[in-house]
């Protein structure tokens, strides 16, 4: 059995992903900043100039609080889903613990996420209310989202080995979720009956928490954080169990 150095392995896999993505680009990590900034500009234009509204005062920061988590979520989920199939050579020839591959893919996306979070925090300081003590919540709520994505990716990457349609299912799910997550609208607009369901979606829950912390300078609702923790843990447990169940036949299908 494999009894190597997990941390060293994870680090190497993350660095590999990162290097491969940026090696042949001259602007490098700058691209991580460009995408959310452009989206922020476009959506501010649409929802402030084209469709004027008065329920949100600081729309650029408001929408950025939605875009950064969603962006990470969709990129990490999509890349993670294809990670096992894309690393077939490794899976079929080296007895590394299989779980490490999708998780490393998610964590390598966290490097971009880190850059985008810095952008978000910079925006909160420059065009928002600035630093407050509730920022201490940030590491916890972000960690819970990452846990959630790891769980999802464990499940879908394993299913994708059997059915390559999985990656298109995930792609479509992301398109749908873009509308079903409160990125450019507030939760108060959502009918009461659906609002609770929204809060059990970790992406939505994180966005709501971020807005409380960064825009309202207030502590996120503890019940919201509990729901976030609950959903993330459950999804991670299910994902891990499913992965365990399915990994025995990876070799046959790759």
């Amino acid at each position: 059995m494999w009894n190597g150095d997990y941390l060293f392995l994870l680090q190497n896999l993350i660095v590999k992903d990162f290097k491969i993505r940026y090696r042949n680009m001259s602007l490098g990590v700058f691209w991580s900043l460009l995408n959310p900034m452009i989206m922020m500009g476009v959506m501010t234009f649409v929802f402030v100039k084209v469709i004027p509204r008065d329920d949100v005062t600081n729309f650029p920061l408001f929408v950025l609080c939605g875009l950064v988590p969603f962006n990470f979520f969709s990129v990490a989920w999509n890349n993670g889903t294809i990670s096992i199939a894309n690393n077939a050579g490794l899976i079929k020839r080296i007895p590394v613990p299989r779980e490490v591959v999708p998780i490393a893919t998610v964590l390598s996306t966290c490097i971009h996420l880190g850059i985008q979070i810095l952008l978000l925090l910079a925006a909160a300081i420059l065009i928002g209310p600035g630093v407050n003590v509730y920022w201490l919540w940030l590491p916890l709520v972000w960690a819970l989202l990452i846990l959630f994505v790891c769980g999802l990716v464990l499940a879908t990457s394993a299913l994708d080995v059997y059915l390559r349609d999985m990656r298109y299912v995930v792609e479509s799910a992301c398109t749908v979720l873009f509308w079903l997550v409160p990125i450019f609208y507030t939760l108060t607009l959502v009918p009461q009956a659906y609002a609770t369901v929204y809060q059990f979606n970790p992406v939505a829950a994180l966005i709501l928490a971020l807005r409380r912390i960064l825009i309202d300078s207030a502590s996120p609702d503890p019940s919201l954080v509990l729901k976030l923790a609950f959903s993330s843990t459950v999804v991670f447990a299910i994902g891990l169990a499913l992965f365990h169940r399915l990994k025995n036949r990876f070799f046959d299908y790759l």
């Binding site: 059995m1 494999w2 009894n3 190597g4 150095d5 941390l7 060293f8 392995l9 680090q11 190497n12 896999l13 590999k16 290097k19 491969i20 090696r23 042949n24 050579g89 490794l90 899976i91 079929k92 020839r93 080296i94 007895p95 590394v96 299913l159 059997y162 059915l163 169940r245 399915l246 025995n248 036949r249 990876f250 070799f251 046959d252």
Partner: protein, 246 residues
């Protein structure tokens, strides 16, 4: 002591006949039995003692690589039991886990971590791995510029520095140049002489005769013969000549 033991081991794959429906995949995921499986290995039994060096021979598709994959724990057997005791290094493919866009040095480090080296050992062994591979000039070039012989050098140098108790090699030696092949074979002989266990698939019978004391002959997933290398190779060559004459 037995370091590798196969007890009634079978490995089946699905036959790729007809269209597979969603139902089939779901049956597979929940672990249902395939009514008409293809046996890549069928009811294989053998035991390898500590320090033996064993050749595995057989025609293409006989199940040799399947057997080595089972030993390496890349998949569980469909039936039976595979027991392995001891640290194992496997060279099943050229540059498995390498990435063409990373440099030789980056690949070396990545590969070392995949094989289970600790950070400390990877750094300690770095120089000796580069020395053994004789790739100093190219070590900072991306792997896509390497020839297959050069990739073999890198892969081999990392795997051999793992100081394995069991060394597993699947038909990879052939692409190296003469000089490096000779060097690798020397090194493999060294490893054997240190009393380590070797399991080796190769079509180079001359090397097998020297290196191995025992051979296992597989055909269509079944174990045909297991015995002293000379006897098994002679029988195998005899049969090959026989079927060629027909």
């Amino acid at each position: 002591m037995n370091v590798i033991e196969f007890q009634n081991v079978s490995k089946t794959f699905h036959r790729a006949v007809g269209q597979r429906l969603l139902r089939h995949y779901i049956e597979d995921m929940i672990g249902a039995k395939d009514p008409n499986p293809f046996y890549a290995l069928k009811d294989v039994n053998f035991a390898i003692r500590d320090g033996e060096s064993v050749a595995v021979i057989g025609s293409n598709g006989a199940g040799k690589s399947t057997m080595l994959s089972l030993v390496t724990h890349l998949m569980p057997p469909s039936d039976g039991k595979v027991i392995v005791n001891g640290r194992l290094a496997a060279l099943l493919d050229l540059g498995a886990g390498f990435h063409p866009d990373l440099t030789g040095r980056e690949n070396m480090r990545l590969n070392a971590s995949l094989l289970g080296f600790s950070r400390k050992r990877a750094s300690e062994l770095h120089d000796s791995i580069v020395d053994f591979s004789e790739l100093q000039e190219f070590i900072n070039e991306p792997l896509r510029t390497y020839s297959s012989g050069m990739i073999l050098r890198l892969a081999f140098s990392v795997a051999l520095s793992l100081d394995p108790q069991i060394l597993i090699i699947d038909e990879v030696l052939a692409v190296g140049d003469q000089a490096f092949q000779a060097k690798c074979i020397d090194k493999i002989f060294d490893i054997r002489n240190q009393g380590k266990t070797i399991l080796c698939v190769s079509h180079a019978h001359a090397i097998l005769r020297n290196l191995c004391s025992r051979a296992i002959w597989l055909d269509h997933g079944q174990l045909i013969m297991d015995g002293p290398v000379e006897a098994v190779l002679n029988a195998y060559e005899g049969r090959a000549a026989h079927s060629a004459a027909e």
